[in-house]
Structures are given as structure tokens and as C-alpha cells.
Amino acid sequence: MNYLIQRLIYAIPVVLGITIIVFFILSLIPGDPATAILGSYATPENVKLLNEQLGLDKGLVQRYFIWLGNLLQGDFGRSFALNRPVLDEILERFNATLILSGTAFILCSVIGVLMGTLSAFKQYTLTDKIITFAVLTGISVPSFFLGMMMILLFAVNLQWLPVSGMYAIYGGGDFLDLIHHLIMPAIALALVATGVVARITRNSVLEILRQDYIRTARAKGVREGSVLIKHVLRIAIVTILPILGLQAGFVLSGSVFIEIVFQWPGVGRMLVDAILKRDILLVQGGVMFVAACYVLFNIAVDLIQRVLDPRIK
């Protein structure tokens, strides 16, 4: 518990750093937001008025603190393109992203660890070779291309799964409908990360198998199956955990592409649209929100790591 508090306190400078980077990078965007909103025929008076309303007539540092203060109160500003509060839009979108990325993350962790372990236990057998080949292929296919090919095969040709979206437009909306829509994008998103996790798991299991304590287990006469499951896997999971935390970042990143390919109504698609429309506040808010969630997620990974590995003090 103490550790949790300590860890949260350590996260504050990181999150502050993120706010500084997000704010100042995005305030470098050339052009005048007021002109962008009002269009190029706006009168100078109107532009000036809107700039004052948006608080853009103040200095950069002052604006940062105003923005930060608002953030802390949960006010992310208003998206001019969508004409609604940024936070409302983000929360709605983030739910969809979380469902997609979360599913993909669980898929890649479970399947990646299983495949990597199996591959190490059966090193140099046919199983190992097939997994190694699959992993190599998996990490070399761009997820967006894979997504497109899956749509062609499973949605267009075989007609097993819907082409895109999160729910059917007519009559859908229940849990089964969601699962039906989720299958393809989640698999496409999980693929690369699964490959990376499997690869790292294989190597770390092989390294663990050489450790003295594994020899001790064998010297005790422990059955080989128990050696692998009780002694090797237990420690493998602890070593792989930080890697999984890192993969969560990659899954989240990949979700941007997958959301676009599958028309998934998530944060990634929102961000790309916002950039193309120069909707700065929405970009700022979206980036900030996702980055902060990622920091929290990594704190959670750290905590689990501590619970599983008593050596960390």
C-alpha cells in the first residue's frame, strides 16, 4: 500500500512532463486557431474576439497553467469541430478503444506466453519451427494490411464476420453483436504483439532452464512436467511481465491503424481526424488522456510484479 502511494507520487513528475510536452509541442502548431475556426473570410474583429474568448491572447506559460488548472478540474476544453466538450468525446471514444486494445492485449499476453513457452519446451522440434516461423511472419505483417486482408477473406468472401464497425446498425447492440464485431480487429491488433511476446518468452524460458535452481529441482527428482510448470513458468512470467507492460503501449499504438481500417469508433480514429482538421484542443486532450492512462497502467504492472516477485523490495 505504501508502495502504491510512493509509486503514484513518482508518477507525478512524469505526468507533468507529459503535460508540458503535449502542451508546448501542440502550441507550436502554425496558424491561428481562431482563423481556422471562423474561416478565412472572418473579420479581424471577430478573430480578435474569439482569440480572447479562447484565451489565446495571453502568454504561452500563462496559457499552460490555465490549461493545466482546467485539466485538473476535468475540463479539457471544447472541440470546435465537433462542438462538444473534449472530455465527453474522449470518454465515449476511450471506452471503444479500451474494449479493442484490452481484448488484443489479453490475447497477445496469453497466446504469446503459451506459444513462447511451448516453443522453448519443444526446442528444435517441428512445433518449435512452426511457431518460430509464425512469429516471424506475424511481426513482419503491417497490422493495417493484415486487417484489410482479413476483411476481404472473412467478411467479403466467406461472410462470416461483419466488415467494420462496433455494432450492427440495425438490430445489434448486445454483447454477442459486440463480440462478433470485435473478433477481426482484436486479432489483427494482437498479432504483432503476440509475436514479440512469444519470442521474448521463448528466450527467457530457455535461459531459465539453465539456472541452478532448475538443476536442483531435477536433482530432487521432481517430474519433468512439474519442473517446467511449477519451477520454470513461475519465474518466466515474472520476467516477462515488464515486457507485457511495454507491449501494452504497442497495442495502444497499433489500435490507431486498426480503428481506421475497421471503422472502430475509438480514440485513435478521433485523433487522426482531429489532426487533419487541426482541432488542437481535441488532440491535446486525447493525447494527454491516453498517455496518463498508460502511465497508470504501467504502475499497475509494477504492482503486480511486486506481488509476484518477493525479491523486489
Binding site: V141, P142, L152, R210, T216, G221, Y294, D309
Partner: protein, 620 residues
């Protein structure tokens, strides 16, 4: 470099990746001089022609542009952008990493905290933010991808630089008057270059994918100019009706990335020391056994080792670690096995229940006879029932030999449960009883502790308790007191000795220390260079060592109360294990009594006085 080439060419997949990449490079970079149509000429009458149509090998896209031409020009662009991004981020990242690692302290802190903040973003967010600022465009996308990957290089390079910066040759360079800049350029840079190369080779595939991704989103190359990513992005709207426009660029991205990955893996494997040492090969549960001579087990001996030869196999060559070792142990006897590190004593001990890691370990000859059976001929299940049950081990360093994540109690119970049908509570009663036996105070505490929470002496007591779990007949103690300080060492020895006498245990006690062996062993075997060089009763050997090696080894033991003297050492070092056949005495190089014929023939072990000695000129 030649070495690298050799290693890669040995790896067929890496070679394939390399060739694939070179082909793609050549074709795409020749595109300006190849007889191709202009990639940007649109012809609406020829929209969406299929591959192999008249005049268009790969067909046309939604504007009637030649796909082959666009593909090659696009590949060229994608490669250029990906490689430039990799070089930019490698350069900046390496500079930052080197500075942070070399200067340390505040500089390090500031740079690394900054890197931490950058790493706190999922990379795409940062890339999107950068593109948002700079505006969509291929050059800007490249900058974004390069910046996003800087932390990765900086972290890797910093780690290596820190280790290098603490080495002696950097100190020497400082003393020779080089300034920091010169040291970084001439001393550090050549040493981190391989790491930079490996990092580039493992990330360049990512970077090509990332730039293609940004272009795919419409944030990279802008029409009419097209790289592979934007080709795919444009093709997406026609995916269902005209999928061939998607296949073409998508397949090319896949080929490039798989080529980079195969080749990069090849480089990484070639430079990874763990692979060349075989540390990433799964060890089998039983040591590999090859070509055993037929041995008739002796019916009357309790335990004997005959002619045991264990080798390590590298590159199809056998390096013999123990050669034709034979000895026996009687019931209730404590046999000492003594020698320097590398003498083959631990390998001999591990061979007894086939625990030598294999690969590379191989038992090439001999038999190990235990109550009328040859252990080397047993199947796995039969052997498993002996391990930890009839024959058990105490290892040297219990911090690394006890499982770090399993509580002591569980580890003790496991030893019991694996060899009996009984219930858990019986196992825990047994375990606690054993902890009492090895004189552990507050048993409940220790029971619920992890190994790292105990002191070295406590851990070794636990190991002894674990070895005793199933009332074994033989305990093999491999340097059980070496990692402990002297007072604890004495306690452990006395526990071991009294248990042995009380229970009539046989012990094979391995050590490099004559002082320790003389305290508890009935008989002693001295090993050198994988061979037994002398054996006999402890008191006889202590009184009258015959082999020059034994004599010198004994002189290395300090004696309390005999006044000051210079502690002698044995000059030279033990022979390294080779795969070549060697003739003569392996100790000859370091022996004061060496005569000419010592190297001429193999010397057999023979009786001399009360002991057996392998020497032509033993001490009288």
C-alpha cells in the same frame, strides 16, 4: 567483419533475408533508369486494370496509373525514408546515450528523465503530435518516426557506455592525457558500434512499418507522390471491388520487413555471446549418454563408479572433463573428492545421477552402479525415483540453487511429495521435523520465508534438510560450505557429520579445501585435469602425500598456531580442457619433479605404500 559474414552465411534464413533485401534494393533503386511508365500519369480509361493486362504487368490503380512503376518508385521512397529515419534516430540517440552514460551524475539524470517521459507515451501518440505540429508530409513523418525511436537507442547505448566507461582502459586513456572528447571518439565509440548496429538492425523494420503507417493514415506522403503506405491507404477505399491494388503495396511492405527481420536476427544471433556458448539451448532432463562399454555391475558393492568419462561437446568435438574415473563408496562412509576448480570433480558428482546439462554434456563411457544396477542404463522414470530419494544433492550456493520465488516450506514439501503417495500435511510435518534436525530456530518463520530472506548459513541448512527428506542412502555434497564464512562452515560440517554417523549415511564430499576434507572424510580422492591422481585413507594421505600435486595442494592450507609463514601457491594453472588426445602426466607442466619420460606414455594408477598414485616418481 569477415567473422560476421561467416556467421551470417552459416544461417540460411539470414542469408535468405539478406538476398531478398539486396534484390529489392537493386530493383527499386534502378527504377529511374528502368523502362517504366511514369508513375504519376493518370489515364481514366484504364482504371483498375487487373495484373497482367496489356502493357501493365501489375495492373493499374483507381486513376489508371501503372502499379508496377508506382510500386518500384514507392518502394524506393519507403526504403529511403525508413533508412534515413533509422540513421537520424541512431545518431541522436547514440549521442545522447553516450553522453549520459559517460558523464553520469546530473547529466545522466537530466537526459534519462527526459527519455523516461518520452517513453511514457505509446509511440504513436508522440508521432501523431509531432505530425500535428509539422503538418502532414513525408519528410515530417520521417522526422516524427526518427524522434519517436530516439529513446530506444539512447537507453541501449547508455547501458553499454556505463559498463565501458568503468573499465580500466578508459582510466588508462584518461591518465595518458586524452580529453573526454577524444576518449569518446577513440575509446568508447568503437566499443559501442556493434550495439548500435544491432539496435539499428532490430529497429529498422519497425521504422519502415511506422512510416508506412503514418502514410497509410494520410499523414505521410501526400499525393501524387506515393510511398508504399500511402499506396495502401489509397487502395483501401477500393479494397472490396479491386483488391489487387491493395495486394501489391501490402505484399511489398511485408517482403521488405520480413527481409529486414531475418537479416537483423542473423546479425543479432551472430553477435550474441549466449548463442555461441549454447546457453539458449534447452538442457535435457537427463545427460546424454553415448557409446557405453559393457560393464557387469558388481553385485556386492553398495555404490561404485567405473571408468566414468564425461565430456562437453562443442562443434562436434568432445572436450573431456573427467576421464576414466573409478571409485567406490561403502555404506556409511564419507569419501572426499578434492581438486582445484576445473579438475572435473563437480562434473563427476553431477554425472552420478545424470545432471550434467546436456547439451553440451555427454557421458561417453563408464557405469555407475548402485545396488546392483547401472544408473546409466536406467530409463528416465527409474532414474527420477532415485534422484532426491536414494541419492540426493547438497549444492554449493543455496541462493542460486534454491528456487527464488517458492517459499522454503513448499520447496521442502515438494521433495517429499514427489516420492510418495502421501498427503500435504504429512509432507509439512516431515519438512518441519527436518528443519529441527538441522538446528534451525523459529521454524515457522523460516518455513514461510523465501530463500533471499535467509542468511547463507540458514539457506545451507535448508538445503541439507531438503537432501535428507527421503532418508537417502547417499548424499553428494558439492562444496557445501564454500560460500559460507568460517564459523558457519564449522557448524554446517558438524551437522553433516553427526547426521551421517547417526543415520549411517554415505557421503561423497566435494571440496577444494584439504582442511575441510580432513575433518570429516574417511577416504580421499584427489582429482587433477579430469583424472584421479591419488586416493587413499585420509590419515595416510594427510601424513604422507605421494603425488606431487597432492603435496603442493596440502601446503596451501594455512595452519593456525604454527607461526607466520609465506603461504605457498601452486605455480601455473591447471590444464585447459581440450578435445585433443594427450599423452603423459597432466600435472607435468607444474611439477618440480618432472623427468623426461613423464610426457611419453599414459601413466596408470598404482599402489604406493598405503595409497594409490598416478605418478612415475611419487614421494617416498
Amino acid at each position: 567483419m569477415i567473422n560476421l559474414y561467416k556467421l551470417i552465411s552459416r544461417n540460411r534464413l539470414a542469408l535468405f533475408g539478406g538476398v531478398l533485401l539486396i534484390l529489392i534494393f537493386i530493383i527499386s533503386f534502378l527504377s529511374p533508369i528502368l523502362p517504366l511508365k511514369d508513375p504519376d500519369i493518370t489515364k481514366t480509361s484504364d482504371r483498375f486494370l487487373l495484373p497482367f493486362s496489356d502493357g501493365y504487368l501489375l495492373g493499374t490503380d483507381h486513376l489508371g496509373r501503372d502499379l508496377l512503376s508506382r510500386l518500384l518508385w514507392g518502394t524506393r521512397l519507403s526504403l529511403l525514408v525508413g533508412i534515413s529515419a533509422a540513421l537520424i534516430s541512431a545518431t541522436i540517440g547514440s549521442i545522447l546515450g553516450t553522453i549520459a552514460g559517460f558523464y553520469g551524475n546530473k547529466t545522466d539524470n537530466v537526459i534519462m528523465r527526459l527519455i523516461d517521459v518520452l517513453m511514457a507515451f505509446p509511440y504513436i501518440l508522440l508521432a501523431l503530435a509531432i505530425v500535428a505540429v509539422l503538418g502532414p508530409g513525408l519528410f515530417n513523418a520521417m522526422i516524427a518516426v526518427a524522434l519517436v525511436n530516439i529513446p530506444f537507442f539512447a537507453r541501449n547505448i547508455r547501458g553499454v557506455t556505463v559498463t565501458i566507461a568503468n573499465k580500466e582502459f578508459i582510466e588508462a586513456a584518461k591518465l595518458s592525457g586524452m580529453n573526454n572528447f577524444q576518449i569518446i571518439i577513440y575509446e568508447i565509440f568503437p566499443n559501442i558500434l556493434p550495439v548500435i548496429v544491432v539496435t539499428i538492425s532490430t529497429t529498422i523494420g519497425w521504422m519502415i512499418l511506422e512510416t508506412a503507417g503514418l502514410s497509410f493514415l494520410g499523414l505521410g506522403s501526400q499525393p501524387p507522390q506515393a510511398d508504399l503506405g500511402s499506396m495502401l491507404g489509397e487502395a483501401r477505399s477500393a479494397l472490396i471491388v479491386n483488391p489487387h491494388t491493395s495486394y501489391v503495396p501490402g505484399a511489398m511492405i511485408f517482403l521488405i520487413v520480413i527481409g529486414v527481420n531475418l537479416f537483423g536476427d542473423g546479425i543479432r544471433d551472430a553477435l550474441d555471446p549466449r548463442l555461441s556458448k549454447g546457453q539458449l539451448i534447452k538442457p535435457q532432463p537427463v545427460t546424454q549418454i553415448k557409446s557405453l562399454g559393457k560393464v557387469n555391475p558388481k553385485p556386492n558393492t553398495f555404490f561404485s563408479v567405473e571408468n566414468l568419462t564425461t565430456a562437453f561437446e562443442f562443434d562436434k568435438k568432445l572436450y573431456l572433463a573427467s576421464k576414466n574415473v573409478s571409485f567406490d563408496i561403502k555404506k556409511g562412509e564419507c569419501l572426499g573428492l578434492i581438486g582445484e576448480s576445473g579438475s572435473g570433480k563437480s562434473v563427476t558428482a553431477l554425472s552420478i545421477t545424470c545432471l550434467v546439462a546436456s547439451p553440451p554434456g555427454v557421458i561417453t563411457d563408464g557405469s555407475i552402479n548402485y545396488s546392483g544396477k547401472n544408473i546409466l542404463e536406467m530409463d528416465y522414470e527409474e532414474l527420477r525415483k532415485i534422484r532426491g530419494n536414494k541419492i540426493s544433492y547438497i549444492f554449493q550456493d543455496p541462493l542460486s540453487t534454491l528456487h527464488p520465488l517458492i517459499k522454503i516450506g513448499k520447496q521442502l514439501e515438494e521433495a517429499f511429495i514427489e516420492h510418495s503417495e502421501s498427503k500435504n500435511n504429512e509432507a509439512s510435518l516431515r519438512g518441519k521435523e527436518l528443519l529441527k534436525l538441522v538446528q534451525i530456530p523459529n521454524i515457522e518463520n523460516v518455513w514461510n520465508s523465501y530463500p533471499h530472506e535467509l542468511s547463507g548459513g540458514m539457506r545451507q541448512r535448508v538445503s541439507i534438510a531438503m537432501a535428507l527428506t527421503n532418508d537417502p542412502e547417499l548424499i553428494i555434497a558439492d562444496e557445501p560450505t564454500t560460500a559460507l564464512d568460517v564459523t558457519v562452515q564449522a557448524q554446517i560440517l558438524s551437522i553433516l557429520d553427526s547426521l551421517r554417523k547417526k543415520r549411517g549415511l554415505s557421503v561423497l564430499f566435494i571440496s577444494h579445501d584439504f582442511g575441510v576434507v580432513s575433518q570429516i572424510c574417511d577416504r580421499v580422492i584427489v582429482m587433477y585435469g579430469g583424472q584421479i591422481v591419488e586416493q587413499g585413507k585420509t590419515e595416510n594421505i594427510m601424513k604422507q602425500p605421494r603425488h606431487p600435486y597432492t603435496k603442493q595442494l596440502m601446503e596451501c592450507v594455512p595452519h593456525i598456531g604454527y607461526g607466520k609463514r609465506k603461504l605457498p601457491t601452486i605455480l601455473g594453472s591447471p590444464p585447459s580442457i581440450t578435445h585433443k588426445k594427450q599423452l603423459g602426466c597432466s600435472f607435468a607442466d607444474r611439477c618440480f619433479n618432472k623427468k623426461n619420460n613423464c610426457m611419453e606414455l599414459n601413466i596408470e594408477i598404482s599402489k604406493k605404500g598405503d595409497s594409490d598414485v598416478r605418478c612415475l616418481y611419487p614421494h617416498e
